[in-house]
Subunit: 342 residues, 2 copies
């Protein structure tokens, strides 16, 4: 910065006290007797001069820089990232911390370089995040650091983990379908995301489907079919057209995310079927799309803001141990589900 | 961090040189004669011990912390934020800098607190960003700092500014419509965003419309109408239904963003009109929606990644002065425009 920094010595001089006295007052220390008058003079001098503590120097002495780092595989590719960062920033700001953000793009060497860059800057702790829920291996450089895992889990360390309650979300989605009165013609589109690229599926798919099947089974209802596919609009479109082409008219579609639901809407519309009169649709994520579709799409929300906030709260409020914190996923009821006719 | 930090003294001891010699070698300084052999021993010792420079201490001596701050009004409310951050991270990483991210939520007191928090941490510079293009007043605390403005502009300082070339985008959108052969029935939906809440409109609206009207006028074509409204799907839906209700069937709609275009698609579909056979649609932003709509929507892309990257490049590569850098907006051609029938 070009402006000369106002130093503690400047403050002490204006206040007419020793630098040590000024420093004790401004650090809020109570282990030295200082008169109320001197304290007031120091505070006034600091205000007048616009004195700001040098946190870089303080960091050296106390090993607390009041900075934390959010390191993730990729922030940019999901439209939800903003809300995660927003929640993290709110929790950090409330605790007077600032936030580094870094992306590894899934490259271990970049990850090591970034983690070491943050350790060089003596961050107080890390939130290690993935944009899709999954198991991870923590980089070696993080093994000794304070870490909270966000949207992922690991066997490597005892760090706390924050994950969305996807099983609960699946239960709630099935509950909406049952609550509307559907018992037949219920199909899931997207399933566990068992595709060539992800032959083992994805974590959110397994968890959501577990919740769905558990609640349907409890009511004696069986899924008429599960279309395993990728989770993009074109996949929802293709799979619903395929169902209809095979002569099946579903009564309720449980789409594994909103993008699939968009494709389902498009396929139903092209086929002259109405949502929700002919076919009910429920979904997951509650992205902007859910509000924008006509009729509005009932969707179980990924609580991005709360995930980001909770991770930073656990990090800064001193939570330790390997506990997994499940953040509830609220159901956003809209107009895409109805009682089946006939 | 719980692990004891490897110090320069440890490295010097293992290498059998003085701490000063070790420090000169590792700082890459050339103002002291050091034998090639000693230099090699120091580097090997640093590698073996896993020595990392203490950037907090280095920051105190050199006033360069290799950190920058991205301060914005709100990151979370736009789905594009991720790409802006991604671009900024790439440019920062390529220059061995890390990035603080902070949000003011438009509150001047929060803004002052955050800027001072960053100055306390001795950041090397700031990217000051807004999520919607507009004029801003820089906070007083930033007047003496190195700043690049992103997606905004100001009369306050001589800082460089990075803005999308919205006029060029408007020209290109009109060019697509003319290129398809439309000369009649061309309407704009969204206009300058002249609403009760924004009686003066928004900057992107004025700029896009200026480009549109310039190119149409050059070809002797006039807009048949401009619907001034908010830029959400429901507004596009309502305005297109209103047009159709008044007995007008447009031949080409220039929607001021993709959300409006989604609403227009919905209204046309409900009215039994086909895109592009009956009505061509072109748009701005190139959000995910543009790819997801059926048929795919031709849209002029907001270059979020490049905006973020350019701002950090200008900041770290030493650009000064009040120049405005216009980042081109590429046209993404898809299937929503066609030659008018008859």
């Amino acid at each position: 910065m070009s402006r000369r920094r106002v130093t503690m010595t400047d403050v002490a001089r204006l206040a007419g006290v020793s630098p040590t006295t000024a420093s004790f007052v401004l650090a809020g220390r109570r282990d030295m007797r200082i008169s109320g008058d001197a304290e007031e003079r120091v505070r006034r001098a600091a205000r007048e001069l616009g004195y700001r503590p040098n946190l870089t120097a303080r960091g050296l002495r106390t090993s607390v820089t009041r900075t934390i780092a959010l390191i993730s595989d990729t922030i940019a590719t999901t439209q939800f990232a903003g809300e995660v960062i927003h929640g993290a920033l709110d929790a950090a700001g409330a605790r007077d911390h600032v936030l580094f953000v870094a992306e590894t793009e899934g490259d271990p060497r970049t990850e090591t370089r970034l983690v070491e860059g943050m350790l060089d800057r003596q961050v107080d702790g890390f939130v290690y995040a993935t944009m899709y829920s999954r198991e991870v291996r923590l980089p070696a450089a993080l093994r000794d650091a304070r870490v909270v895992l966000l949207n992922c889990y690991t066997e490597d360390t005892l760090a706390p983990s924050v994950l969305p309650d996807e099983v609960g979300a699946g239960r709630d989605a099935a509950g909406v379908v049952l609550g509307a009165g559907h018992r037949d013609g219920v199909h899931a589109v997207g399933g566990r995301h068992l595709t060539d690229a992800t032959p083992d599926g994805v974590w959110a798919g397994w968890e959501r489907m577990r919740g769905v099947e558990e609640v349907l089974a409890g009511a004696g209802v069986r899924l008429d079919g599960v279309a395993e596919c990728d989770w993009q609009p074109e996949d929802g479109h293709r799979e619903v057209l395929r169902l209809l082409g095979a002569g099946t008219v579903p009564r309720a579609l449980i789409c594994l995310n909103d993008r699939i639901a968009l494709g389902a809407y498009q396929a139903l519309q092209e086929s002259g079927l109405r949502v929700p009169d002919d076919v009910s649709v429920v979904s997951f994520d509650d992205s902007d799309l859910a509000r924008w579709l006509r009729p509005g799409l009932t969707s179980v929300a990924l609580p991005h803001y709360r995930l980001g906030r909770t991770a930073v709260e656990l990090l800064l409020d001193g939570e330790t141990g390997a506990a997994v914190h499940r953040v509830p996923m609220p159901v956003m009821l809209r107009a895409s589900h109805a009682r089946p006719e006939s």
